[in-house]
């Protein structure tokens, strides 16, 4: 264990026992700490006291057990997603969850932040892959739930609580994951379309004879960002990116079939299969473009944007990203409204999720309020997933249902009675 005596202090335990000791000490002294992995979601939720000690799990990065023929793996929480995928790839397997910045994002952090991408609807998200875990709660108690087998209903499924709790309930130390074989190949079809045709095409996909692993809708502005970030040269228009995986024969058949189906629905704009060698760039782009954009300075953003589409607003881009949840059938209407407010968006359409970048820090509160009003029409909701240093405290990152908030508080009181784990991050 080593303490870095900078401000804020960085705690870097190297084993579970040290995590227990550190949290127990914090509990006894009622000293708040923040559990971190790759640190990509530090600006999620309400702003935290910047002087809080950080407990980093990055030195807990070992494979505990990998019975590959059982298609499960048990790893420590601080292992990076890239290291995990590298280990799995040796046996022809993978975890099919798209996590941005995989080199630095950790497994524990990705679970705590419930990070997932385009392939989540068809292939699953963390709630479909987390079989069991160990964690240390806010009292320094090591506890576990679930197990190491693929089917198990013994005890409460506390893993569901860990996913998306952002380290506010416990510090994850170990997890067992279900894994899948790596498909032989994967390819995307790009379909250009007009804003008014979005729902026509999306609803037709419900009855496709193919089995897409992902369907993403990108706005012209997002197409621009994606093109710049990944050198993809996508048309700057509304686009559907439909992903397929499988054997070369399966993928080829599906690409052909879906083009036929789409042509019977209407008259799409440009439609082409993205060459196989660009598949990784598309996947990376779809999962990372919004989040990597956040890390750029305004000056960099402006320079990049100036190279892009002329219609794109390039003045004072902030770095607030949001995630809206709504029924898939309402995506067209929502995107239309949000675009008039200057949002750059990508939608995981099968899930009913729209992720976007707000146009301007100065108008963020107004735009978020307006988007939430729009979402009410569809029983939808909106969460701010990344905020900036000039956070406007009038913006509420969450629009919780009041009863949800009540029970979140009650659960936290049980696991973290002295409120030492990222206090105030998810609710005040």
């Amino acid at each position: 264990m080593s303490d870095v005596t900078s401000d804020p202090p960085q705690l870097t335990p190297t084993c579970e026992t040290e995590v227990i000791a550190l949290i127990k000490e914090s509990y006894e002294q009622s000293r708040a700490i923040v559990v971190t992995g790759g640190g990509h979601f530090e600006t999620y939720g309400y702003p935290l006291d910047s002087n809080l000690a950080k407990l980093s799990t990055v030195n807990l990065n070992q494979v505990i057990d990998y019975p590959s023929r059982d298609m499960t793996i048990t790893v420590e929480a601080g292992m990076s997603i890239a290291a995990l995928q590298h280990e799995l790839a040796k046996e022809g397997q993978r975890l099919p969850i798209d996590v941005p910045c995989a080199e630095t994002a950790t497994v524990g952090g990705a679970i705590a932040a419930n990070v997932f991408g385009s392939r989540g609807y068809q292939l699953g998200t963390w709630r479909d892959y987390l079989l069991g875990f160990s964690a240390v709660d806010g009292q320094g108690r090591l506890f576990k739930a679930g197990g190491r087998v693929v089917k198990n209903v013994a005890g409460y499924d506390l893993g569901k609580l860990m996913i998306g709790s952002h380290g506010t309930l416990a510090a994850l130390t170990q997890m067992t994951l279900k894994v899948k074989p790596i498909p032989e190949t994967g390819q995307f079809l790009y379909v250009g379309l007009k804003e008014s045709e979005i729902e026509t095409y999306l609803s037709s996909l419900v009855r496709t004879e193919t089995i897409p692993v992902s369907v993403d809708l990108i706005t012209p502005e997002m197409a621009n960002l994606l093109s710049i970030d990944q050198s993809l040269e996508l048309p700057i228009e509304f686009g559907l990116l439909i992903g397929f995986e499988g054997t070369p024969r399966e993928v080829a058949w599906q690409l052909e079939k879906i083009q036929t189906e789409i042509n019977t629905v209407g008259k799409p704009g440009v439609m082409f299969a993205i060459e196989e060698q660009f598949t990784d760039a598309v996947c990376k782009g779809l999962s990372e473009t919004l989040s990597s954009w956040k890390s750029l300075s305004n000056e960099d953003q402006v320079k990049k944007l100036e190279k892009g589409h002329s219609d794109f607003r390039s003045s004072t881009y902030g770095n607030i990203t949001f995630q809206a949840s709504l029924k898939p059938s309402a995506i067209e209407k929502f995107v239309k409204t949000a675009r008039t407010q200057g949002c750059v968006m990508q939608s995981l359409v099968q899930f009913g999720i729209v992720r976007g970048l707000l146009p301007d820090m100065n108008t963020a509160a107004q735009v978020i309020g307006s988007l939430r009003e729009e979402l009410k029409k569809f029983n939808g909701s909106l969460v701010v997933i990344q905020s900036g240093p000039q956070w406007d405290s009038t913006i509420d990152p969450f629009d919780y249902d009041s009863l949800m908030l009540t029970y979140m508080r009650k659960i936290k009181e049980k696991l973290d009675p002295r409120n030492i784990l990222a206090p105030g991050k998810l609710f005040k």
Binding site: D70, K144, K151, P181
Partner: protein, 480 residues
């Protein structure tokens, strides 16, 4: 607790006199679920028709300080709806409406008492189905599936109940109505829907569920691998999974089961086979033949005697009927039987099956097997005569020994039936004191008084009322 006139009157005012039972003889039907080892009659059974009625029932129970327990069809197999301590049983079978089917957005909102297969029937004409398919799907309810996080043969590829429930309406033990999750994306907050699924009624009563609807596959290939012995069959299963192939279903039946289902359904199973494995692949027409061919090749490599393929939809359905109604056929083998529900890592299947065989010999109890091999979820069925007390004791000891072995092999004591009251004593073997304390604390968040489904799942829940349970003996159980 014994029923009181004021309580009955209060409940009658809520549901109407035609929708409650309190006569001792009528209550006998509700003394147990599919787990009949332990029995206890509720004092009253009420049959509400709405969430509002359930709220009033729960508040009334709290006012009278009596425990209450929800019940679906009673097909659960671990005593999950056993009314420990008596009290009020809230039977949800009148609440069976499908409130909404939205094929565009891929979901349905249903009542808890809706029979599982009725949802699939409702949407099958449009090319959709509800994926979780427990073998009891012709009787079990969606609310019961939510409580126990039910599985089924096709969950190997498509996942269990929790993977298909996106939202729930629940009546909490204090009478509050909560709505968590829903059809739209991923609402903010903890995944309380996921936490609630599988909580065996101890967090409250599910009164509506929003579930995903799944497109029917374009094509199926259903095969039957016939093996000389069960060890070769389990090796084939390990090879298929180890090769990274995930069929839609992978189900094993051993010789004893083959003989029973053949007598019942006359499918044409070879009676001298040591085991058969029902294998189904589904998906694109263009790919199912390739996948089926790979599976056949792997089976031949380990020495399958014969591979058959269902040549028609009728033949496929008959094969599935044999599998799903296998438990109904067991009555041909023995007057009574007791089903276990263990899980082992998939590669340890040969080991656990050898252990089951040795256990069978050790206790002189015949054990047959029909199970979800692809998940490593075993269902050894212990056959006996409940009139013989010595056999009963041996059945209990043999069952415990098998489940202990599952734990030793890195598995679990339940893959889909739940802990209920049956397996409470195994919880300290699976979990540490801290684990159980944390689980108990989470239960207290929702159910602080412990009056909703008391004495289930956790040994730390105390032994309230357990002394009132009539300890019977293992007997015939409903199909899983």
């Amino acid at each position: 607790m014994t029923s009181s006139i004021p309580l009955i009157n209060a409940l009658s005012d809520i549901v109407g006199k035609d929708h409650l039972l309190y006569d001792a003889e009528e209550l006998l039907v509700y003394e147990c679920d599919g787990y009949i080892v332990e029995k206890k009659c509720p004092d009253v059974v009420v049959f509400p028709i709405s969430t509002a009625e359930i709220v009033e029932i729960v508040k009334t129970c709290n006012r009278f300080e009596v425990p209450f327990v929800p019940r679906g069809a009673g097909t659960s197999l671990a005593g999950g709806c056993l009314p420990v301590g008596g009290g009020v049983m809230i039977a949800l079978t009148r609440m069976r409406e499908i409130h909404e089917v939205n094929l565009r957005d891929g979901y349905a909102v249903v009542d808890p008492g809706l029979v599982n297969v009725h949802l699939t029937r409702e949407v099958s004409g449009d090319g959709f189905h509800y994926a979780p398919d427990p073998s009891s799907q012709g009787a079990c309810t969606i609310g019961g599936n939510v409580a126990t996080n039910s599985g089924g043969p096709h969950t190997l590829k498509y996942g269990v109940t929790v993977n298909h429930v996106t939202g729930i309406e629940v009546v909490l033990p204090d009478g509050t109505v909560a709505n968590w999750g829903g059809p739209a994306g991923m609402p903010p907050g903890f995944d309380l829907t996921g936490l609630f699924v599988g909580s065996e009624g101890t967090f409250g009563i599910c009164t509506k569920a929003t579930v995903r609807l799944t497109r029917n596959p374009a094509a199926y290939r259903t095969m039957l691998g016939i093996f000389d012995d069960i060890q070769t069959a389990t090796r084939a299963i390990s090879e298929i999974i180890g090769a990274g192939i995930v069929p839609a279903a992978l189900e094993l039946m051993d010789q004893g089961i083959i003989q029973a289902v053949e007598a019942a359904f006359k499918f044409g199973f070879p009676l001298d086979a040591g085991a058969v494995v029902l294998i189904e692949v589904d998906g694109l027409e263009v790919s199912v033949d390739d996948e089926a061919a790979r599976i056949k090749e792997l089976c031949h490599q380990v020495g399958v005697r014969e591979m058959r393929t269902a040549n028609s939809e009728a033949e496929r359905l008959l094969l599935w009927k044999c599998r799903k109604q296998a438990f109904g056929a067991i009555g041909r083998l023995s007057p009574s039987f007791c089903t276990q529900d263990g899980v082992v890592p998939r590669t340890r299947l040969p080991e656990i099956l050898q252990f089951i065989e040795k256990t069978s010999q050790k206790y002189d109890i015949r054990i047959v097997n029909v199970f979800h091999a692809g998940d490593g979820n075993i269902h050894p069925i212990l056959l006996f005569d409940e009139r013989d007390q010595a056999q009963i004791q041996r059945v209990i000891e043999a069952g415990d020994e098998i489940l202990n072995k599952c734990i030793e092999l890195g598995g679990s004591v339940t893959g889909e039936h739940g802990i209920g009251v049956e397996k409470i004593n195994f919880m300290p073997k699976l979990f540490s004191e801290n684990d159980l304390t944390v689980m108990q604390e989470i239960r207290e968040v929702f159910n602080p008084e412990g009056n909703c489904s008391p004495c289930k799942m956790l040994p730390t829940a105390g032994a309230c009322g357990m002394e009132q349970i009539e300890r019977s003996h293992p007997g015939r159980q409903a199909a899983l």
